[in-house]
Symmetry: C2
Subunit: 209 residues, 2 copies
DNA sequence: TAGATTGTTAATCGATTAACAATC
DNA sequence: TAGATTGTTAATCGATTAACAATC
């Protein structure tokens, strides 16, 4: 990794990984940049350029070995170095993630969830305990947490974010739909703006109609 | 709208809309491209270029009127032309969207949800009825549906997508995490790949550590 | 009018695509 | 070896940034 990789390339890596996993499941052994490009709607050139940001994984005259490529891309994304995660807010969305999202497939270990609803505290979802939200700060002082998943109501986002940053949480996966304005130091925030996604869909639909 | 607007610009529109809504709530009356750029991490030039794709909403020497600009951007996104939507799959994720996502704020009317779980069929969430999944096709022949939200297990994605396309559903908001390979005609698919988002976050976190 | 800030054209920068020599 | 396909350099294209005249 000679220099800074552009965000465009980084955001394509998970797509490549997904496609490789799919091809592997179909027991495809090798793939050329041309084939891959056709399947993914990219040019062969772009694919080769992307991979060469990281040193090139192919073999001239042959193409790319699917299994090898999946492992290489997984390595770049760091799937082998597990990060710890907690979910804050165990409402429908939080529970949907806990129950259905395969954190472990993406290099994360989901350690606990937090909520303030007495009916939820003490229960567990899919093996993940729901702890009392009031104990969050204490938990963070005793346990190392890399990433917090924010699935509680947006009104608490700023306050919780400050707490997380103060306690050394380095990543925030933000589902609240608000931008977090708090001073984040070098904590990284990844926003999931569902409304942006739906509005974009709506734009294209209305444009056609 | 003289020519085709680039996807980059379109994807920034919802962000502008959000920022305008926020400023309006703060009772800010006008904003210049410079101020807006600072708040949003964009250059003033880019903002003016973006808006001028649609004809320019500002006033020289003054800036942009917040309320007016929000309305104009909402107009471009077509918030005034309501589209009908259904949710397919009323598990945690589906119910999270039904209960917490403000479809109406984004120009959508959520008409119904579908599931195959007998314990859910006949119940309703937040005023939205959960209907029998088996009746989906019949429903689609009798009701005009613009957008289907896919929140059921990914195994059904391809089959349901074909049904939707066949019955004239023009937009699919896909939460299943699989790419839909079916022949989609001119049905528009917007994928919400949560794993891509988390993998990207992980990449940046691991790079720093 | 003078000051501010847009709308818009021109310049720059970066990302994508094309081309081809290297090599399996 | 001949064919295929990569890695990599060069060309193109598009998006962002800078500059400034128009104008409120």
């Amino acid at each position: 990794m000679k220099y800074k990789i552009s965000a465009n390339v980084i955001r394509r890596l998970p797509r490549y990984l997904r496609r490789m996993t799919m091809l592997e499941r179909q027991e495809v052994e090798k793939v050329s940049s041309t084939e891959l490009g056709e399947r993914m709607g990219l040019t062969a050139s772009q694919i080769r350029q992307d991979f060469n940001c990281f040193g090139g994984f192919g073999q001239q005259g042959y193409g790319y070995n699917v299994k090898q490529l999946r492992e290489d891309i997984g390595g770049i994304l760091g799937l082998d170095r597990t990060l710890s995660a907690i979910v804050i807010g165990a409402g429908n969305l939080g529970r949907a993630l806990i129950a259905n999202f395969h954190f472990s497939s993406y290099g994360f270990c989901l350690e606990a969830a937090f909520d303030t609803d007495p009916a939820l505290i003490g229960t567990s979802v899919n093996g993940t305990a729901i702890l009392n939200g009031a104990s969050l700060e204490a938990y963070l002082t005793e346990n190392h947490v890399d990433v917090a998943v924010l699935t509680m109501p947006k009104g608490f986002a700023a306050e919780i974010a400050r707490l997380l940053v103060r306690r050394g949480v380095r990543g925030i996966w933000n589902f609240t739909g608000t931008d977090i304005d708090a001073d984040l130091g070098d904590t990284v925030v990844e926003d999931v703006h569902l409304s942006d996604s739906l509005l974009t869909l709506g734009y294209y639909l209305r444009g056609v109609s």
